[in-house]
């Protein structure tokens, strides 16, 4: 009840926000002083092309911007572009093989130079450079060329008809970087350009003034921002680290911070914090799915480094679809939701839970079925041993190392899932890793989620925008992280199915929306229902919190949470 009241309060404050703006929250730039933002995962880089971590990408969204963003309803809004190109206005060619963007004439980089078509072209070159291992490679998967038409016009050509041409340069994961600044940082040299990666020059409302890795980022209002009256705040202190609890308390109970991201806390805890009266939680449902990822390759330390967790060494038992299905149906998802998320979550069997046309009617996994799971494992040849762990004839024990980030809800999930798996004769070893390391993407660390030195791992991921094509494209054969790509890549499971690749190519060539929905659902089912390579658990609403005195916050599940920070303001005393 308390959470509901709090959420209603949040909705109400959102409803009032536009009115408040109309009430005259206009004025000169920097009038409202400082705003404190806390992300409990600290920022490690401000270059979204070198990090898969949401915290890095969202922090970068204050500085660098894409050509177009999504608003809170999933509609596209032009940012650096004059308008959204469509077939109707001639921006997209009739055969869907190219899209032409026009850049706003007056946008400037924060160093005072003009944004040109060259910068857009360079962004593409940067992400697709040889040996670079770009974290957002899927965005540019189908782009064959980006050419400069004139100083402010750029044309992207695709390798075939692209029914959804709004992937490259759209959304917070694919912003435009300055060609002059990153010119020397192509390919393998990208991680070496520390100055550029830690202080990109951007077009956004803020610029970086001080960056301390894995700690604090200081921003100041961009003097060359295109709207002279924005942003309302002169400076931003972007604090990272700590945990979700501390962040929630700092906003809702003590009022030290104005905005806290991703309150992944038990519902009763959030409700109790909201009683502090300094701030309110806000929530919205998007495409964020907490899931178990099954490793199809062998993560055992006995496998030599270089082959470990790569497709050269197949997993001893998770490559068997029956084992994966048994692991999936042994889980009681409704109970997980009740324990972990309350109203901020719902049980799901889909990797793509929204928008509606892409959401498959896949509900088979929602009922826990221990008996069937046991039968499946018997059928797969794994017999219960004397110690309660199943072994097959070749002596392969169903023993799983299950890792996730350090977070109270995730550790509760681990405890529950371990219990259910022990009922079907699967032994589980739990491991939790500090979130900054786990999602840090550091190629030198063995503990990142991309490296996946475990059998099963749990985390949540989502896709920006409304089209899952790029998201589903992450599971193509050539997207596997491996030592050659500095362990970058989105195909965490090392899933590789030629039929999947072919179907994804078909999706990429289909323009009709209903047909796209059908194929999208089929791809989703191939990863979840049919193969259980990905075992979705909970569709999570996003809950963040902001101070009562902070106005203009519009929680957006389709883009960066800080997408409209230029419009934030301080509510007067």
């Amino acid at each position: 009840m308390k959470l509901k009241t709090a959420l209603l309060g949040a909705v109400a404050s959102l409803a009032f926000a536009p009115m408040a703006i109309a009430d005259g929250h206009e004025g000169e730039r920097g009038r409202d002083g400082n705003v404190n933002i806390i992300y409990w995962q600290a920022v490690s880089t401000l270059n979204p092309y070198l990090s898969g971590g949401t915290k890095d990408i969202e922090a970068a969204s204050l500085v660098i911007e894409p050509l177009a963003r999504y608003d809170e309803n999933g509609n596209m809004v032009p940012y650096l572009a004059v308008e959204i190109p469509t077939v109707a206005n001639g921006g997209v060619s009739e055969d869907l093989t190219s899209i032409t963007w026009k850049i706003k004439p007056d946008v400037m980089w924060s160093d005072g130079t003009a944004v040109t078509a060259r910068d857009v072209q360079f962004t593409w070159q940067y992400c697709t450079a040889e040996g670079g291992g770009c974290a957002q490679g899927a965005k540019f998967a189908n782009v064959t060329n980006v050419e400069i038409i004139d100083d402010k016009t750029v044309k992207t050509t695709f390798d075939g008809p692209a029914p959804n041409p709004y992937q490259a340069f759209v959304g917070h994961e694919s912003p435009i970087i300055q060609a002059a600044q990153f010119a020397e940082c192509l390919g393998p040299r990208a991680p070496e350009c520390t100055d550029a990666n830690f202080g990109p020059i951007g077009t956004g409302p803020f610029t970086v003034t001080d960056f301390r890795v894995n700690d604090v980022v200081q921003f100041a209002a961009n003097e060359n921002y295109r709207d002279p009256n924005k942003p309302a705040f002169a400076t931003v202190t972007f604090k990272g680290g700590g945990d979700a609890t501390a962040a929630g308390r700092a906003v809702m109970e003590t009022g030290e911070f104005d905005y806290a991201w991703n309150m992944q806390l038990a519902p009763d805890v959030i409700a109790a914090m909201a009683e502090g009266g300094q701030g309110v939680p806000v929530s919205a449902f998007g495409t964020l799915v907490e899931r178990l990822e099954m490793n199809l390759t062998n993560p055992s330390p006995d496998v030599p480094e270089g082959e470990r967790s790569t497709s050269a060494a197949p997993h001893p038992f998770l490559t068997d679809a029956r084992v994966r299905e048994a692991l999936s149906i042994a889980i009681d998802r409704e109970l997980l939701v009740e324990v972990g998320y309350g109203q901020a979550g719902r049980a799901t069997c889909n990797l793509v839970p929204a928008p509606a046309i892409y959401a498959s009617d896949n509900t088979a996994c929602l009922t826990q079925d221990i008996d069937r799971a046991n039968a499946l494992l018997d059928e797969a040849g794994y017999m219960m041993g004397s110690d309660g762990v199943r072994v097959n004839d070749e002596g392969v024990r169903l023993s799983i190392l299950y890792q996730t980030s350090t977070n109270a809800v995730r550790q509760d999930f681990q405890a529950l899932i371990k219990e259910w798996w022990s009922e079907i004769g699967v032994e589980t070893e739990l491991r939790n890793i500090d979130a900054s390391v786990f999602f840090g993407g550091d190629p030198g660390s063995p503990d990142t989620f991309q490296r996946f030195y475990a059998d099963v791992e749990m985390y949540a991921n989502n896709f920006p925008g409304t089209d899952p094509q790029a998201y589903l494209g992450a599971y193509l054969c050539d997207k596997m992280p491996n030592p050659e790509t500095q362990w970058q890549g989105e195909n965490i499971n090392r899933f590789c199915d030629p039929a999947y690749d072919a179907l994804w190519a078909e999706l990429a060539a289909t323009a009709d929306l209903d047909e796209r929905g059908r194929i999208g659902q089929q791809l989703n089912d191939m990863l979840t229902k049919d193969s259980n390579v990905i075992v979705p658990l909970v569709d999570r609403g996003r809950v963040s919190a902001h101070a009562n005195s902070l106005g203009g916050v519009v929680l957006n599940t389709w883009d960066s949470e800080l997408w409209n920070i230029a419009d934030w303001y301080r509510i007067g005393e």
Partner: protein, 319 residues
């Protein structure tokens, strides 16, 4: 008269032959805090070791229907509270019994404390005595001590975790492997103070007449150390041992609290604290119990150390 003298002499010599450990014990008893500390340490050790035989509930058992049970004493001020005699300390948010967890957690925390302490004392004494006794090794060993003193524990443990976790896990299993890692980490970073103190004392003792006398009759170095030096530096060693035990428990708690250390299904006092910080306001007992256990154990060990120092010092003992 002669007879009387003859009678008194044996009594006097009997008193003189009185075991010196009894003297120590007599002196120790006069320190109230130390006696209380000793009793508490014995109590908490028995509670953790023998407790699970009587209270045989698996600490990892999930009982979701009986989650969030409050401790039994809550009834005193809130008659509607969800309590159960079967769960005297209540359960956590997944229905795990808190009392069983405190017992299991105490076993680990105490085991880490004792093992790390013994390791630190053995290393510290060995290096301290060697450096103090053999002048030629002194410079080398003390510079090495300085070097280790400069190592920060947390980053060192993180690096050790990274390098040795997988081999240790393969060799000893996940819990045992981490246990060895943490104990070694704490042990090899906390022997330096002991080494410094022992070295100083040994150097002072070395110049004393009885050592000179022993040397003049040709006592070899090995015998010199075990027979004459070690017994005389026992008092500072004992004291740093008790302090070391306390430090080790606290370091382990700190590591678990930071989410490093043991896997999440492996309770230690520090970990129980860490897991329940979120619900501290709603369920204060979940942090009070492990917190009390840690602080009382550390406090009692410190008191024992204090009492031992007094009791082992012949000047204070009045001899």
């Amino acid at each position: 008269m002669t007879e009387q003298t003859a009678q008194t002499v044996p009594t006097a010599s009997a008193e003189k032959q009185r075991n010196q450990w009894l003297d120590v014990w007599d002196q120790f008893k006069t320190h109230k805090g130390a006696v209380f500390g000793l009793f508490f340490l014995i109590f908490i050790t028995l509670f953790c070791l023998a407790g699970p035989w009587i209270w045989n509930i698996d600490p990892g058992d999930l009982d979701i229907r009986n989650k969030d049970v409050r401790p039994i004493y809550t009834v005193i001020w809130d008659s509607n509270a969800k309590v159960s005699w079967a769960r005297p300390m209540g359960t956590d948010n997944l229905g795990r019994d808190i009392m069983a967890n405190i017992m299991q957690g105490g076993r680990i925390s105490l085991a880490v404390g004792w093992t790390a302490m013994i390791l630190a004392i053995v290393i510290g004494t060995a290096i301290g005595v060697t450096a103090g006794y053999f002048r030629r090794l002194d410079g080398l060993l003390m510079r090495f001590t300085d070097l280790v003193l400069a190592l920060p524990l947390l980053p060192l443990l993180l690096v050790m975790m990274l390098l040795f976790r997988d081999p240790l896990r393969a060799a000893f299993g996940p819990e045992q492997g981490i246990f060895i890692l943490i104990v070694t980490g704490i042990g090899i970073t906390s022997w330096m103070q002991t080494a410094r103190i022992v070295r100083g004392d040994v150097m002072a003792l070395k110049e004393r007449e009885f050592v000179l006398a022993a040397r003049s009759i040709g006592t070899p170095a090995r015998r010199m150390i075990t027979r004459h030096l070690l017994p005389n530096v026992l008092s500072p060693i004992m004291v740093s041992a008790t302090l070391g035990l306390a430090t080790a428990i606290i370091t382990e708690s700190a590591l678990s609290f930071l989410g490093l250390g043991f896997p999440s299904d492996f309770p230690t006092w520090g970990k129980i604290l860490f897991d329940n910080v979120d619900r501290m306001t709603a369920f204060p007992e979940r942090v009070i119990w492990p917190g009390l256990a840690i602080s009382l154990t550390v406090l009692s060990v410190n008191y024992i150390g204090d009492g031992l120092r007094d009791a082992l010092d012949p000047r204070i003992r009045g001899l």
